[in-house]
Structure formats: C-alpha cells, structure tokens
Amino acid sequence: MTAVLEDAVALGRRAGVALSDDELRRIAERLGRVPTVTELFAFDAQWSEHCSYKSSREHLKKLPTEGPDVLLGVGEDAGIVRLGEWNGETYGIVVAHESHNHPSQVVPFEGAATGIGGIVRDVLCMGAEVIGVADALRFGRLENEHCRYVAQSVVDGIAAYGNAIGVPNVGGDVFVDESFDDNVLVNVVALGLVKAKDVIHSRAPRGSVGWDIVLVGKATDRSGFGGASFSSLTLDEDDADQNKGAVQVPDPFLKNVIMRATYAVFAQLRASNVQAGFKDLGAGGLAGCSAELCAAGGVGAEVELERVPTAQRDLPPEVVAIGETQERLCWIVPPSFTPLLLELYNDVYSLPRVARGACAAVIGKVTETGRYVARHRGETVMDVPLDFLTGGVRYHRAYELPRVAQEGGADRERALALAERSAPATLGERLRAVLAHRDVCSRASIYRRYDGVVRGCTSIPPGYADAGVLVPIPGAPLAVAVGIGGNPRYGTIDPRGAAELAVAEAIGHVAAVGARAIGLTDCLNFGDPTVAEHMGAFVAAVDGLAGAARHFGVPFVSGNVSLYNRSSSGRHVAPSPIVAAIGRIADVAASATMAFKRAGSPIVITAPVQTAFGGSVVGELLGLASATLPDVRVHAFARQCELVARCLERGAIGAAHLVTDGGVLAAIAKMAFAAEPGLGFAIDPAPMAERAGGELGWFAETPAFVVEVFDVEAFARLGAELRVDSYDAGVTIPEPYAVLGDERVPLEELREAWEAPLRDFYGAVRA
C-alpha cells in the first residue's frame, strides 16, 4: 500500500495539481489504488479551497444563518429571503455572492465577465428569474499601468456581459488601494425572484434513481481547465500565460438565450408538476456539478463522457469531466420529461443555431450506488465514493489574531494638531480635496457603462441613492434594495472592526432608500490561510461579521470565501470582508433617492459625530497614522436605520444618505449634486467645531445618516420614540452654492472636483 500512496504523490506532482502530498495519500488510501488522471483532477477541484472551504468552514459556522425571513439558508448555490406576499403567493429573493478575483487579475475582461456569468447561473438554477446584479470592485493604484489596464478591462467585461444578457446592474462600490496592485478583487452579487413554491433545489430529487442527467449549454472545450485549483493558488508572474488557460471564455449572447430557454423550462415543469434537480457548472466542471447534485440527493451517478458535446475532437477525459467551460448547466429530470426539455433548448430556443455545438444532451443516469462513475470510450475513468469526493477535507489552520491598538482620545488630539500644522485650509478647500479623493469621487463614468434599467423593474438605478431599488413583481408595490459595504482602509487597520462596519454600511445603505434589511451575503477576500497572520485576519473578520449580524438580527443567507489573494512578491490584499444587504420595502412609495428635494429643508445628522479618524479619507489626506476606527454602536445604529425607514414611510424626510468615505460634509455635498434642478446647502460650522473638537468633525466617518427633513415635528417625534439623537447640520438653499459659514463655494466647482478623477480615467459619459 505504501508504494501505491507514494505513486499517487508522484502522479500528483507530475500532473501539477494543487493537492498536497498528504491529500494525495489520503485519496489513494481510500480508493485502494492510484487515482486515474481524471479522478486526480476531480479531487483537485473538489478539494480545492474554492470548492471545499477547507480552511474557512470551521469559522463560517459562527455566522448567524437563521431567521423568520429565511426561505432557504446557506448550503445550496444561493440563499433565499422572503420578499413578501402578493396575490396569495409568497415571493422570495434569491441571493448569491461570488468572487472572480484570480481570473480578473490574469485576464481582466474575461475574468470579470465570467464572474457575472457564473453568479447569474447560481441564481438561475434555483428556479428564479434573474433580476439584478451588483459588484464590489477593488483596484490597484491607477498610477500603475497594469492596474489601469485591469481597472479598465474589468469594467468593460462587466458591462459587455451584463448588458447583453439583459440583467440590470443596480449597485456596487469601488475602492482603490495599493494592496490590490497585484490582486484585483471582483466580487459580484446576483438577485433573483422566485415564488416560494417554485424553488428548484441543487440536488437530485427524492426517488430520482434512473433519471436522466442532462447537460445544457456551450460545447465543452479546453477553456477553464483547472480553474478551481488555480483560484486557490498564489499568483505567480512567471505562470501568467499558463494561468490564462484556466480562465473561462464568456458568451453572454448564448447565455441570454439559455436564460430565456430555461425560463420556458421552468414554466413547463410547473405546468406538469414535475420535480427536478438543477445546478450550474462552475468550479470543478461537469464532474463537480453532477457529483454535488447527486451527493446532495444521496444517490449516485453514471456519466458517459463521450456523450458530452465538445467543441474540439479528442479532448482528454479529464478536460471533458473537469474543465470549466462557461455557460453550462446540469439538470436531473425524469425520463418522461427529457424529450420536452431537449426540445425547448434544442428546437424552440435552437441553441445549436445560436452557438456552434451548444445544445442540451443526456449524458448520464442517476444510480443508487452512492458512487460517481464516469466512462470514456468504454474505459472507466472515474469510480469514486461520492461523499468522499464532495466531502472534501477540513483543516484547522493556525492563526494569530491581529493586534489592534486602542488609542481612544489621543486620536482626536493628534488629528487636531495635524490639521493645525498642515497647510492652512478653509472648510471649502478641505471639502474639495476630500471630494476628489479616489475613494470618494464620482463613480458615474463606471456605472453609466452598465445598463441599470433593462427589464423595466428598476426604481432607483446606480448612482441615485445608497442602494439600488427594484420593483420585481409587475403590478405589486413590493420592492427590494441591495446595498454593499466594505472598506479596505478599515480592513488594513482592524479586520474585525472593518467587518462590523461592512455589515453596518450595507444595512445602512438599504435603510437610506427606505428598506429594512432582511438578509446578508458576504464575500471574504483574504491572503494565504497557511500564514497565521492572514488566517488571523480572516478569523477576526468572521467574528466581526457574526457579532454585528447577530446584534442587527439579520442573518447571512449566502456567501463566498476567496483566499490566497496574494502575489508571489508577498503582497497580500487588505483584509476585505465585503457585505451586501438585501432590504425589503413593503411599498415602493416609501423609497427615496438621496437627492435633496426642496429648498429650505433642515439638514440633520442622526448621531453625534465621533472623532475617530482611523482609515478615514481626511485622516489619509492629513497623513494621520491613526488606528481607531469609528465605533459601530450596533444597537443605536439599528435604531437610526429604523428611524430613516419610518420617516420615509411617513414622508417626514425627503432624502437620506449614509455617512461613509469623506464624512458628513461629503455626504451633504453628494445629496446636493444629485438634486435636479440644482439645490445648494448652507451650514453653520461653529456647533460642529464645538461638539466634535474642530471642523475636522465635518469629515468624520461616523455611522450615521444625513437626512433632509420635510416635517420637523414628525421627525422629532419619531426620533424621540426611537431614542435617536439628531443634530442640525444646515439647510438646503435654492442657490447652487455650498455656504460654509462665511465661505461661499459654487457647487459646480465642487462637482467638478468630485467628477473629474474617474471621468478623466474612464472617459466622459454625459448625462
């Protein structure tokens, strides 16, 4: 047996798989022989970090995942939260979150496009209509030529794919940080709409032994071979060309048709009351997908690889079985339904006419054996126990929690001292500098490249508010909002605090449009888990997410972990827990954009400003090496969120905007920029200077909202009920100026400072 084990190790090393020697021995021991090449690659994919969460799983257990609004929790391709009832039906919002970081670094256009493609399939395969996507992007410094190329191409890829498939892009965020120079982060969220009774599960249904396994989509080719294990590796410059082969090739045109054909299949399944299993092919390809479907159903599978439609002749069996060719999905259906399924894809929606070789084909059968058997030209190339293949491995990685300095009040003193020593600046000059900061400036030249309104269900498209808002059921007032949070400047200082703030930010963003958060989804982007420091940052962030989500009472319903975001030069990404919140608005009439609506409205801040400048924009501009992040104060912040939602319902406020990067004054300026026709604002700097120790308080990134008050009395009453302390900041004015005490700055000047940086980078898109 020892010889077999060592032969397996030798084979694995020769084949260049990412499995460790121990893992290879374990496989050979269980199989009682050296694995075949196809088996080797199947285990390589299934046991990768990407598929098995082998380093992260023990920690992810800490996240709260249950709640009254959870229709389907973590465990399948996507989670589902309850949107509400309409015409006697319960509707759910399907939520999936993925990273496509490694592919986007190597081949940014295709990497980002297939990121959208993959997440859309994760939602589709739950039986849902795909209603929107959102993306969180983290780019390296745009002064760096390669980073510029990546940043341009990622946006191009997202635009090209999302626009063509006709799914609106309704939100996202962008940060630029040195730590992403060698590892871009491309995180994508997709949302779907499904009736609770129509959910299709990612598993072989009960009693499905003997049913057909049907592969749908693009003809299998060599693209994307080894993608799962590639994304679990450290990127090495020398391997760049080799890695490119591991990236999939997008075909949004084919996907557009596959989606529509699949909607027709859903309708037929419902009409004939047929159960089915459905799952998208992602990491691990056909073998991974069909194995997970069958493992989840407690059955087995027999697959004939030569029945898989291929784009090239003589593809080796391991490529057919494991390759990650895009735009493919896998059904398990009763043989009585198979002819209709094939007719819909192949004739009615004529996939073979849409893309060469694309089709639906029966490639295998469900068995009762609990084994995954694949044959190729009469030869058995895989015969493994399913639970062993898909069960993966677990590791307890050593970790060292980050030490975070507790500085408290010293921060404020140092900030004030620095501000005094720095070049004398008026409030207006500081505001202009903050608005032009890379993490504050306008993203219009990015989001205007995305179609945010296709499907005709968009109520608030990107750029008009903190969160995108969709009215997904035609005729129903129910609306869903999606907001994103996660700040790499915070992550670098304190992963745990950054995670808490990411949860608060995402929830705050949906509150600002009048929504109550009902579900969270996370994408955790970290460095090498075998390095105690990076693993410690991950563990601290999960603790932060878990704690904050518990206190808010909002569960996680899906998520993703992306590790090994480090380059061979040793640079690793800023610990980046990125969170999206799904919010429900019972009546879209209670939603609002962030634009100031009227002149003469009081402008109010819903919490006292904290003078913690760690990770803040103004702190960076002043060169303040601070380590104190704003304190989330979850319970108080949750009450602020509720106040905003209630006030919007009752018309007591006209607009709300969460204070984030750039602080209070930047938030006020952005609400004025959004006003049509232009409105200005006037503030009295003195009270803030007294309360927050100097005018820097205007740039503090305290978790709070800036609101435009319509009904002062109602606002005060609701605020008292919810014990929210609000502070007057100023008033909206009809003239397009920022009046800052004695200083009067034309709004156009500030707007130009805010719009110029990314406009000049991405090119102007005139509105």
Binding site: A159, A160, N163, A164, I165, G166, F253, N256, V257, R260, D347, V348, Y349, S350, R353, V354, R448, R449, Y450, D451, G452, V453, V454, R455, G456, C457, T458, S459, I460, P461, Y464, V471, P474, G475, A476, P477, A479, D587, V588, A589, T593, K597, G651, E676, G763, A764, V765, R766, A767
Partner: protein
Amino acid sequence: MSARVAVLVFPGTNSEDETVRALQAAGLDAALVHWSEPEALARFDAYVLPGGFAYEDRIRAGAVAAHDALMDPVIEAAEAGKFVLGICNGAQMLAEAGLVPGTGPLRRPTAAFAPNASGRFHSVHVHVRLAVEPARVPILGGIAAGTVLPAWASHGDGRLAAPAGELERMARDGHVAFVYADREGRRVPSPSGSALDAAALVNRGGNVLAIMPHPERDAWTFQHLDRTRDRASMLAPSGGATFFRHFARALAGRAA
C-alpha cells in the same frame, strides 16, 4: 377589440417583457413572437422590435436581424402601411432594413446608428422632444406638438450617421422625429454624438418609427427619478407611457 401587436424576439433580444407591459398598459393586445415561430407573425395589426443585442450585433448593430427571414413579414407590413415601431436595437434594425429613413432600397441602409462617439455603451437618463409636426407621425396618433418624453438612452450604437447630403435631406423632409432635449424641451447635444441630435427617425409615410432611447424604461411613476415621483401613483403608467398611449391611439384610429 384592441389591436394586436407583435413584439418580436430575436436571439439576443433583452427588452421584450417590459415592452409588452408598456404596450399592454396602453390598452393594446401585445404578445411575444419568438424567432422560431415566424409563421405566427401574419396575424398582427402592428409590429414592435424591442431592445437588446440581436444576433450579438454582429457586423453592425441590428444588421443580422435586418436580414433575418423573421423580418420579411415586418418589412412587408411596413410597405403596406402598417405601423412598425423599433426601440433601441429595434431602431437599429429598422435603419439596417432600410425602412428608416426609407429613402433608399430595402436592406441597403442610407443612414445607420453607429457606435457612440465615446466608443462605449452608456446608460443615461434623457429627455426627447417631438421635432416634427404631429401630422408627420401618424404612428403616434394625436401626439401634441413639441411633446417632451423621459427615456433612458442605453446603447453602445446610438449615433445617427449618414452622408452629409442624406442628413440634409432627413432634416429637410422631417425624418428626425425626436431630438434630445432638456426637460423643458430645449434641444441638447445627444450623449451618443448623434447627427442632428437625432433620437428617433420616421419614414416618409409616418408609419415606421425608430427611436433609440427607451420610453418603456421610464413609463411608470416608480421609474421616475425627479420631482414627479408622485407617491400616490407609484405603480401607474406615466412619463414615457405617453409614447405608447399615442401608438395605441393610432392603432385604434386605424381599426375604427
């Protein structure tokens, strides 16, 4: 009985459902006709070509679809004076089919919607203003002179391009049905760099209209972004719905 309108779906079309909803809200009997069922096309009173990227916009936007057999009955209907409306990708198809401005032979376009001056897709909220006499657009029955509509310009190829002589002729003969405008109706440069600031073209007979921005994407109050977002009527048709109402009125006039 309300008029029957076919909304054509080509491989790559992506705006079919919202287009059907906007037509239905205007009281029309609108139905999707899929590319695999061309024989179904004969039974309709009017045809709408919705937005998307039909046939991946290979060669030029709308070009392959314009030569698809599915377009044959549409072209026939247009020649017979039936109403044909193209929105975005549908507008590009009508130009490629030679139906707008309709001054040359069929499928030999004299004008086209070319890539935006920026070279990139954009999605921006705009207003468009009726730029011809209402009598010039019988397809929008009863529309008032100077009507301003909100819409979304969401396209990569929205720049009207034609030889200088053809542009002159289009301007002179009233083929530029809508121009980009501000909310008060003052003409503004188009985001795409379109010649004549054109947002829509109409044929000589006024029965074929090709409009680049999407009125169906700002056709319900909940879709508005400005002060007209009236809370009491969030789910009611408004704004761009006017466009479809006049299209329906034109069809009702035909039927009567």
